[in-house]
């Protein structure tokens, strides 16, 4: 089984996000970047598949030069090789433009399965995996909690989160699956792993190497455009309800919920 894991580098979830005064973007100066948490589940699952069936694990990551650190993390966890799509023209794309570049990068590569995170925690689109599947002409299944590859490697049984439960699906391979919490416990990179990662193959591709035109990717190739970014609406400072114990505070709360908030 050859597995490709799409990995995005995102600001750490602890980050304080500040919007530029002109509303064009966020201020990136002090941000610490990490591997998108959902993609860690993808890397872990791919490694487990390789341990069971053999084959290879390839990290596919698009972004500026800083993302190499995240790619190295994936390699240090145990992935065999990586493809880095790096070109200013690829930046700022919506899911359609991003998936287009990712799909192009997969041409000419042999693989049986593509894993994406359910969502990148920066843009929170939750679209790229499904879009990529459509562009590749493969089926997809989202929000997987369990994955079993059939012995002939031609299909997989997955447990997908659906409303109120789990759906058990048989998916023909190749397919794109989106990963989330509950699937596995991602391993940490070991020290020997970190040493080895430095020597693993990392193929950097720019737009020309991908063979795509600048107007079909990135911001120019996007179908949706961000016109303005704003900080979240402020929540007015709340009331702490004063009183001696629950016998006093709770009736006051209930009254506020009923008469002021009108939610009960």
């Amino acid at each position: 089984m050859n597995v490709v894991v799409c990995v995005k580098q995102v600001p750490d979830t602890e980050s304080v996000i500040k919007v530029k005064p002109d509303g064009s973007d966020i201020i990136t100066d002090d941000l610490k970047y990490v591997m998108n948490p959902y993609d860690e589940y993808g890397v872990e699952e791919a490694l487990q598949i390789k341990e069971k069936f053999g084959g290879s694990v390839t990290i596919l990551c698009m972004g500026p030069s800083r993302v190499v650190e995240t790619i190295r993390t994936g390699l240090a966890m145990g992935a065999d090789k990586a493809i880095h799509l790096d070109d200013p023209a690829l930046e700022g794309g919506d899911a359609f433009a991003t998936a287009k570049a990712l799909a192009e990068a997969l041409k000419g590569i042999e693989y049986d399965l593509v894993l994406c995170g359910k969502q990148a925690v920066d843009d929170d689109l939750s679209q790229t995996g499904q879009t990529l599947a459509e562009l590749l002409g493969f089926p997809h299944a989202s929000l997987i909690q369990k994955l079993e590859i059939a012995d002939d490697n031609k299909s997989a049984t997955v447990h997908c989160q659906v409303e109120g439960g789990l759906a058990v699906l048989d998916v023909s391979l190749p397919a794109v699956l989106t990963t989330q919490k509950g699937l596995n416990e991602p391993r940490y990179a070991s020290l020997p792993g970190i040493m080895k990662a430095k020597k693993k193959p990392l193929d950097t591709k720019d737009l020309a190497a991908l063979g795509l035109s600048a107007d079909s990717v990135g911001c120019a190739g996007s179908k949706t455009i961000i016109t303005k970014m704003t900080p979240p609406p402020e929540r007015a400072a709340g009331k702490v309800i004063e009183g001696e114990g629950p016998q006093e505070t709770v009736p006051k709360l209930v009254q506020l919920l009923r008469e002021e908030a009108k939610v009960i």
């Binding site: 304080v16 359609f96 929170d124 599947a133 409303e163 759906a167 989330q180 970014m229 016998q247 009960i264």
Partner: protein, 331 residues
């Protein structure tokens, strides 16, 4: 391209989801501005009778794709019906609820008809020139963006449940029912549903619940979640949890609210024994009203809460349950 609005009306357990009515209410206003009509799509098996309700909520036309192959959701089948309808009718705008199903289906349809999708929006509208615009959170709600669309049509959006109001129905209104020929062969479906296992009860899913009561590490153990469940029962609420409570094994992953859990937008969110870590806030800060019960007055949750009680939740929650019971008994 046309000037109509098309709403994907999701059905669950034989009922139209509330979020579909929210989309119809907003879609109606947009269709009127655009001078086009409002249509809805129903998919499933034995669902034709639901068209009546969609008419009352504003649909001029309801496309009914009623077929055994659509009984269980598969993206392959549903995307084909949607994409075929869009190609045949060329709506200007297509709306979905940003439910688990809606978020699975909509990107696939958008990619197939090669158009843009604004996902998980908290607001949508038409600007003065009649151009579709959408507002959506990014960075787990730490920033919001306004989106516009390039020339590709239709403009598509999935909208978060509870984000938009439902207009009152007009019981005299009837929609024209258009039966859709479902041309799907088993080979078209590359993901076969073998089984659907229910893990949750009859309560609405967290992502759609109007009231949520959540517990965190301050619950001290799984047994105390009984207090949360009792409170949830009297409120008709769904139970949620912080990651600390899930990681401790007190609740299942399904219940987790936050950055790596579910993003929720209820009218009322009651956080018990939850400190309000940034990743938890990421999942619930768009709740209309937030109540916090925490014994630490310095807990960050109080900066987001509309109402707070600084006290031991083990004492507060049972009293709250009793008070609400009394209130409900009074009617």
């Amino acid at each position: 391209m046309g000037n109509s609005v098309l709403v994907f009306a999701e059905v669950k357990d034989g009922r139209v989801k509330k979020v579909a009515l929210e989309m119809l209410s907003e879609g109606k206003k947009m269709a009127e501005k655009l001078g086009g009509d409002l249509s809805a799509v129903l998919m499933g098996s034995g669902i034709e009778s639901l068209a009546e309700q969609l008419g009352q909520y504003g649909a001029d036309k309801v496309y009914v794709a009623d077929n055994e192959v659509l009984k269980d959701y598969t993206c392959d089948a549903y995307a084909k019906v949607m994409a075929d309808l869009i190609k045949a009718n060329e709506p200007a705008i297509v709306l979905y609820g940003a439910t688990i199903l809606g978020k699975d289906l909509s990107p696939r349809v958008a990619a197939r008809v090669e158009t843009g999708l604004a996902s998980d929006c908290t607001d949508i509208g038409l600007d003065d020139d009649g151009k579709f615009t959408a507002t959506r959170p990014m960075f787990a709600g730490k920033a919001y963006v306004d989106l516009s669309f390039t020339d590709s049509k239709p403009n598509m959006a999935s909208v978060r449940p509870n984000a938009l109001p439902v207009s009152p129905p007009d019981e005299s209104k009837k929609a024209e029912v258009v039966k859709v020929d479902v041309n799907i062969s088993p080979d078209d479906i590359r993901t076969t549903v073998k089984e659907v296992m229910k893990t949750a009860g009859e309560k609405p899913d967290l992502t759609e619940a109007e009231v949520i009561v959540s517990g965190g590490r301050g619950m001290k153990g799984p047994e105390n979640f009984k207090l949360i469940e009792d409170l949830a029962d009297v409120l008709g609420a769904t139970v949620g949890a912080s990651r600390a409570a899930v990681d401790a094994g007190w609740r299942t992953v399904d219940d987790q609210v936050g950055q790596t859990g579910k993003v929720v937008s209820p009218n009322l969110y009651i956080a018990c024994g939850i400190s309000g870590a940034i990743q938890h806030l990421a999942g619930m800060s768009t709740s209309k009203y937030i109540v916090a019960v925490n014994k630490d007055s310095e807990a960050p949750i109080f900066q987001k809460a509309d109402y707070g009680i600084v006290d031991d939740l083990l004492k507060v929650v049972p009293v709250l349950t009793e008070e609400i019971k009394k209130l409900k008994a009074e009617g």
